[in-house]
C-alpha cells in the first residue's frame, strides 16, 4: 500500500494507464464510450458502479474521486464520476452512469470512495438521483423538508417551501443506553464564532471527548450552479467565482472558470496575460492564507488583538495592491476569457514598487509569525499531534490543497497539471509529514513564501516586458456557443485545494450543466475522522486548520 509519502517522480512511468488498458480493464462492462474533452469516458450500467470503480482504483491506480456530477437530460439522468490519480492528476477517466427517468436509481460508490457519501447526498438533493446502498441518504444542502430537486428539469421555483426550526436530536442516541448515558449533545453553530461562517456541527460529547461529529452544511447554499447555468459564457459567469471562496481568493477561483471555459471553447491566452494572471492569483493566495492564519490564532487562543490584527494588516496591504490591479478589494472580476480585463495600472513603476515593498517586508513578517505562532509553546501544545489526518484517509475523502499537503500528499495542480505560467517559474511544492493541525499551519506559512517567490519572478518578467507586446486578451468571439454536448472537467489549485468545474455545453450561449467541485466541501467531510475521540478544543482547532469557507462548501 502506498503511504502517499514517496515523491511522485519515483513512481514514474508505472503509473501511466493508456486508453487501451482502460478499455481492457473495463471490458464489456462499458456499454459505450462518452469521451469528454479532458478524459476518456465510459458508460456503464447503474448496478456495476462499485465493480468498475473498485477495479479502476485498485488495478489502475485511480485513487482520487475528484468530482461527481449529476444531471438530468430530457430522457435520462446521469451521474459522472470524474476520477484522477493523486500521483498524476493529468490522468483522468470519466465513468458515466445513466439511469432512466422514471426510476433514477444507481449504485452508490461510497464503499469505494468515502467522499462519494457527501457527493451522492448532494446529487440526490439537487438533482434527484437515488443511490442504492448509500449509508445515509438524506439531503445535504437544502433543508430536510424541501420539496422537489431544484436542478431537475421540471422544478418549479415559485412553489412555497416550509423550513422548520427544531431542536436537533442526538444522532447517536439510539446507540446509548437510555437516560443513564452520560453523553451530551452539543450544537455548535450555525451562528458561532469558531465555525468560520454559517456552519452547524452536531457534536456528541462524552465528558470532554468528542464521541460523534456531524457537520451540517447548507446554510449558505446560494444556488451558485443555477446562477452560472443562467449566465452567458462570455461575461455573465465570471463574477460568480469570486463569491465561492470569498476570502480574497477571487482570482484563483476566476481562473478555474477561465480555464474550463477556455478549454471548452479552445481559446488561447497571450503569454503576457498569463504572467499577470499568475501574479494576481498568487497575491490572492497570500491574502487567503493570511486570513487562515489570523483566524486560526483566533480559534486556538482567542487572540483577537495580536496575530489576528497582524494578519489583517498584511491582508490590507495585499488587498490594496489587488485593488490597484483590478479595481476592487474583494470581488475582482478581473479575468476575461482569453486574458484579463486590463493592463497593469499606470504608472507601472509605482505599482511594481508597491509589490516589491510587500515582498521585501515579507520575510521579516513571516519570522514574526513564526515567533508569535509556530514557535509558541502554547500553540504547539494545542496543535502538534492533534487532528490527525492520515494520508490514506485524506485521499479517501478527496482532500486536496494545504490539508492534503499537510498530510504528506505531494499534490499540487500548479505543478502536476500545469496551467498559466507556473511551469516556467522556479518554486517548490510544500509538504509536511506531520498529518496534524500544526503541519497544516506550517504548510500555509511556507506557501506564502513560495507565492512571494512566484510573484517576484512575475514582477521581474513584467518589468522587462517589451511595450509593443503587451497583449492582454486574445481575440474572443462576442458570443461563445460551444458545440452541443461538449463536456469537460478542469481544475486549478485554488487557495484551499483542487477547485474544479464541469461544464456541459448545450449549443446555446449558456452552459447546460455547470458543476463546481469545491475543495472545502471535501476537506470538511474529513472533519469527523480528525476529531472523533479527541478533546473538544481539538475539534475547534482541527476545524480551524481545515480553513473552510462556507461560500465554497455550500456553493
Amino acid at each position: 500500500m502506498s503511504t502517499g509519502l514517496e515523491p511522485r517522480r519515483q513512481v514514474g512511468v508505472d503509473v501511466e494507464t493508456t486508453e487501451e488498458e482502460l478499455e481492457e480493464l473495463i471490458g464489456d462492462r462499458a456499454l459505450a464510450r462518452d469521451d469528454h474533452k479532458n478524459a476518456p469516458g465510459f458508460v456503464i450500467r447503474p448496478d456495476e458502479v462499485q465493480d468498475v470503480l473498485f477495479d479502476l482504483r485498485d488495478e489502475a491506480g485511480f485513487d482520487h474521486l475528484s468530482c461527481l456530477t449529476a444531471q438530468e437530460y430530457a430522457d435520462r439522468y446521469e451521474s459522472i464520476y470524474h476520477l484522477k490519480k493523486y500521483a498524476d492528476p493529468t490522468q483522468e477517466v470519466s465513468i458515466v452512469v445513466p439511469t432512466t427517468s422514471d426510476e433514477p436509481t444507481s449504485q452508490s460508490a461510497e464503499p469505494v470512495f468515502r467522499t462519494a457519501d457527501w457527493h451522492e447526498r448532494e446529487a440526490f438533493d439537487l438533482v434527484g438521483i437515488d443511490y442504492e446502498g448509500h449509508p445515509d441518504p438524506r439531503r445535504i444542502l437544502l433543508p430536510e423538508t424541501w420539496q422537489g430537486h431544484p436542478l431537475s428539469l421540471d422544478y418549479n421555483q415559485t412553489k412555497p417551501q416550509v423550513v422548520s426550526l427544531t431542536e436537533h436530536a442526538n444522532p447517536i442516541q439510539p446507540d446509548q443506553k437510555g437516560a443513564e448515558s452520560d453523553t451530551m449533545f452539543l450544537n455548535i453553530g450555525p451562528h458561532h464564532p469558531a465555525t468560520h461562517g454559517v456552519l452547524h456541527i452536531k457534536t456528541v460529547l462524552d465528558g470532554e471527548t468528542v464521541a460523534d461529529v456531524e457537520p451540517d452544511v447548507g446554510y449558505l447554499h446560494r444556488c451558485e450552479e443555477q446562477m452560472c447555468q443562467s449566465g452567458t459564457y462570455r461575461h455573465q459567469i465570471m463574477p460568480y467565482p469570486d463569491r465561492w471562496d470569498y476570502v480574497s481568493a477571487g482570482l484563483l477561483n476566476e481562473w478555474a472558470y477561465a480555464r474550463v471555459a477556455e478549454d471548452l471553447a479552445d481559446l488561447e491566452v497571450p503569454e503576457y496575460a498569463q504572467v499577470i494572471r499568475t501574479m494576481g492569483a498568487e497575491l490572492c493566495r497570500i491574502a487567503s492564507h493570511m486570513l487562515a492564519l489570523a483566524t486560526f490564532a483566533l480559534d486556538v487562543y482567542g487572540d483577537f488583538t495580536a496575530i489576528f490584527q497582524y494578519g489583517m494588516r498584511d491582508r490590507e496591504i495585499v488587498q490594496d495592491i489587488l485593488e490597484d490591479l483590478t479595481g476592487q478589494r474583494l470581488m475582482f472580476n478581473y479575468f476575461r476569457l482569453g486574458g484579463v480585463a486590463w493592463d497593469l495600472p499606470e504608472p507601472r513603476e509605482e505599482f511594481f514598487e508597491k509589490i516589491r515593498d510587500l515582498l521585501d517586508e515579507l520575510p521579516a513578517k513571516v519570522a514574526e509569525y513564526d515567533d508569535l505562532l509556530t514557535g509558541n509553546e502554547i500553540f504547539q501544545v494545542r496543535c502538534v499531534d492533534t487532528g490527525i489526518l492520515e494520508p490514506e484517509v485524506a485521499k479517501q475523502y478527496g482532500c486536496t490543497g494545504p490539508v492534503a499537503r499537510g498530510s504528506g500528499i505531494d499534490y499540487d495542480l500548479r505543478r502536476d497539471d500545469p496551467y498559466g505560467y507556473y511551469e516556467n517559474l522556479e518554486w517548490d511544492v510544500v509538504t509536511e509529514d506531520g498529518c496534524d493541525n500544526y503541519s497544516r499551519v506550517l504548510v500555509r506559512m511556507q506557501e506564502v513564501e513560495q507565492s512571494a517567490k512566484i510573484i517576484e519572478q512575475c514582477v521581474d518578467l513584467l518589468e522587462d516586458w517589451p511595450e509593443d507586446d503587451r497583449e492582454i486578451q486574445s481575440n474572443v468571439p462576442r458570443t461563445l456557443k460551444p458545440e452541443a454536448d461538449t463536456e469537460t472537467y478542469r481544475a486549478v489549485e485554488g487557495a484551499k485545494g483542487e477547485l474544479g468545474i464541469y461544464i456541459r455545453a448545450d449549443g446555446t450561449d449558456k452552459p447546460g450543466r455547470f458543476k463546481i467541485r469545491s475543495p472545502c466541501f471535501h476537506n470538511l467531510s474529513a472533519l469527523p475522522e480528525m476529531s472523533e475521540g479527541e478533546y473538544i478544543p481539538d475539534l475547534i482547532a482541527s476545524l480551524g486548520s481545515l480553513d473552510i469557507v462556507l461560500g465554497e462548501v455550500d456553493r
Binding site: 423538508t145 431544484p150 415559485t158 412555497p160 417551501q161 416550509v162 426550526l165
Partner: protein, 237 residues
C-alpha cells in the same frame, strides 16, 4: 484693638471660597484633570445638566453600540476588515463585537440569507435585548443581490428582520460600512427608528399554517408545535 480688626478678614472679602467650596462639595473629590476636564469646564460651576431622560438615553445608546459578532457570507470579510486595524470601527464607539446575541445592540447582517438560515437568523435576532438595531450590509441584504434569482435565496434581510440602515455594495467597502454605522449612531442618538416596509416572514407553529397541499404533505415530518418559517417565493418582491 487695631482698626484692622474692624475690617472683614482678608480671607473673607478676597475669598473665592463661597463659589469653589460649593462646587467642590457638589462635585466631591472630582475627577482628575485627565478625565473629561474640558467638558467639566464647559458645564461651569455645576456638574448637573438638565435634559430629557429619553434624549440622554439615546445619546448614550448611540455612543456605545455593541455589535453582534455575526458572519454570513462574503460581506463578513469586509466587516472583519472594518473591525480590524486600519479602519478600526472602535474609534466611533461601535467596535466591540460580542459573541452572544444577549449582549448585543446591533446586528450587522453581512451576506446572503438562504432558506435554511432564515429561521436561525430570526432566532438570533429575537434573542437580542431591546432596543436593537439592524444594519444590512451588501446587496444581498437589500434584494438578494447577485443571487436574487436563486431558488434558495431570501430576497433581502427585510423579509425576515426589520432593517434600520442599508449599506449598498457588493461588498461595501469598509469605509461605507463605517459610514452606515455612523449614520445609525446618529439616528439612534436622535431617537429615530425605521418603519418596517415589508411584511417579514415569521416563525410560526406548524399547526397554525393554513392547511394547504404542502402543509398536508409535510404533516408526518413536522410536529404541530414545531416552529417553521414558510417561504412564499411567488410573493417575494
Amino acid at each position: 484693638m487695631s482698626s484692622d480688626q474692624n475690617k472683614p478678614r482678608q480671607s473673607i472679602y478676597d475669598s473665592t471660597a463661597p463659589s469653589t467650596d460649593t462646587r467642590d462639595s457638589r462635585i466631591g473629590e472630582g475627577a482628575d484633570d485627565r478625565f473629561n476636564s474640558k467638558l467639566r469646564e464647559a458645564f461651569g460651576s455645576t456638574p448637573f445638566i438638565l435634559t430629557k431622560f429619553d434624549k440622554f438615553m439615546n445619546w448614550v445608546r448611540g455612543s456605545s453600540m455593541f455589535m453582534l459578532q455575526f458572519g454570513i457570507a462574503c460581506c463578513s470579510i469586509e466587516m472583519m476588515h472594518t473591525y480590524a486595524i486600519k479602519h478600526d470601527l472602535d474609534r466611533f464607539g461601535a467596535g466591540v463585537p460580542r459573541a452572544s446575541p444577549r449582549q448585543a445592540d446591533v446586528i450587522i447582517v453581512p451576506g446572503t440569507i438562504v432558506s435554511k438560515f432564515g429561521p436561525r437568523m430570526k432566532r438570533v435576532y429575537d434573542q437580542m435585548p431591546e432596543p436593537k438595531f439592524v444594519v444590512g450590509m451588501g446587496s444581498c441584504t437589500i434584494s438578494g443581490g447577485p443571487f436574487q434569482e436563486g431558488y434558495n435565496v431570501v430576497k433581502g434581510a427585510e423579509e425576515i428582520v426589520p432593517v434600520d440602515i442599508h449599506v449598498p455594495g457588493c461588498p461595501p467597502r469598509p469605509e461605507a460600512l463605517v459610514y452606515g454605522i455612523a449614520k445609525l449612531q446618529e439616528r439612534v442618538a436622535n431617537g429615530e427608528s425605521s418603519p418596517v416596509v415589508v411584511k417579514p416572514y415569521e416563525l410560526e407553529e406548524f399547526g397554525d399554517l393554513p392547511r394547504d397541499e404542502l402543509v398536508q404533505k409535510l404533516a408526518d415530518q413536522i410536529d404541530e408545535d414545531d416552529l417553521v418559517m414558510r417561504y412564499n417565493w411567488s410573493d417575494s418582491p
